[in-house]
Amino acid sequence: MNYIFAFLLLFSFICAIVNNRLDLAVNSMLKSTKDAIEVAFSLIGIMAFWLGMVNIAKKSGLMNLFSKIIKKPLLFLFPDLKENNEALSNVALNISANALGLSNAATPFGIKAMENMQEQNKKKRVATNSMCLFLAINTAGFQIVPAVVLALLTAKGMENPSQIIIPTLIVTTIAFISAIIFSKLLERVFK
């Protein structure tokens, strides 16, 4: 990220000089900082609303209920966690929190799940099959409601922002399933 950041700016300045557009580049650099603040502030309302709603689900035990329901199918994906109930619970809680869009709440569960899995890992420096699968699932980013994106679209005045929910859900499900398939196939290649 450090190199990308420096490269993008330096390369742009060189291009600006070559194209004789340095004034444009400098002005848009200064103006874009204001845009960034506007974007951030436009998110506050819906973020607050959604985090409030999801906090109810967390406190009422709905999130725990959901993670209990998905535990059985998860055991099928993570067969080596059969004896490691705590790890499996944390994996389920992590996926539930992510699904609701609570990535801040999901991360601690994810780290705990990794620690639980590490306990039964024989080679401490090498990731186990379950660890790799868990990570791949996480990077696929399964989410039921993309709250932040909805917030931005609403703030910018889209007519009907919720039209993106179903397409997003389909895409994220496809990515989720393919993450599972790829991990299961590749774990035989990378021993």
């Binding site: 700016l9 848009s28 960034a36 951030a40 998110l43 409030g52 906090n55 990794m114 996480n138």
Partner: protein
């Protein structure tokens, strides 16, 4: 079929909120107080992403205004045109695996460039909503337990990202292009 799914989109939010509230009532959870407690985090999250947004939005703005983006777009345009993908979405396809806040900044940039109801905006929104930052997650989770050999974890994540991108392009074409 697509029309039905489109109108179904409208029902998802009320449905989830309904389930949350009814469950809270059954469990006698103080829903209003829990709401306020959770909502108070909204401000701090928005403030927390400001530095990331400033970084990426300055980068994209300068990249665009300097004409540097023309080089990239001219290179990729034939491929994007062939698949009927708006060229404006090129940058977001790279940032999505690198940084979530950066991707959000690029999405805001695409909205400013093409308008909020454009096809490019819808595609970029679906790409943003369905992605998680592969490299960040890997470094946090494996770093926490000091795993050095990632084996196939990153490759599986990146391949899934690519499948997700292709799926986003296809699904958006089905839903939003006629």
């Amino acid at each position: 079929m697509i029309k039905v799914l489109n109108s179904l989109s409208l029902y998802i939010l009320p449905l989830i909120i309904g389930i949350i509230l009814i469950h809270a009532i059954i469990k006698k959870t103080p829903s209003y107080e829990c709401f306020i407690e959770g909502a108070s985090e909204g401000f701090s999250i928005a403030v927390k992403i400001i530095p990331y947004l400033v970084a990426i939005m300055v980068c994209t703005a300068v990249f665009r205004a300097s004409g540097a983006i023309d080089i990239l777009e001219n290179m990729l345009k034939p491929i994007f045109d062939f698949f009927k993908v708006p060229i404006e979405t090129a940058i977001i396809m790279f940032t999505r695996s690198l940084s979530g806040s950066a991707t959000l900044g690029v999405l805001a940039d695409i909205i400013n460039q093409t308008g909020v109801n454009s096809y490019a905006t819808k595609l970029a929104a679906v790409i943003t909503g369905s992605s998680e930052t592969t490299f960040y997650v890997a470094s946090v989770y494996f770093g926490a337990v000091k795993i050095r050999k990632f084996r196939h974890a990153l490759l599986a994540g990146i391949l899934a990202d690519i499948v997700g991108l292709v799926a986003a392009v296809l699904i958006c074409a089905i839903f939003f292009l006629d």
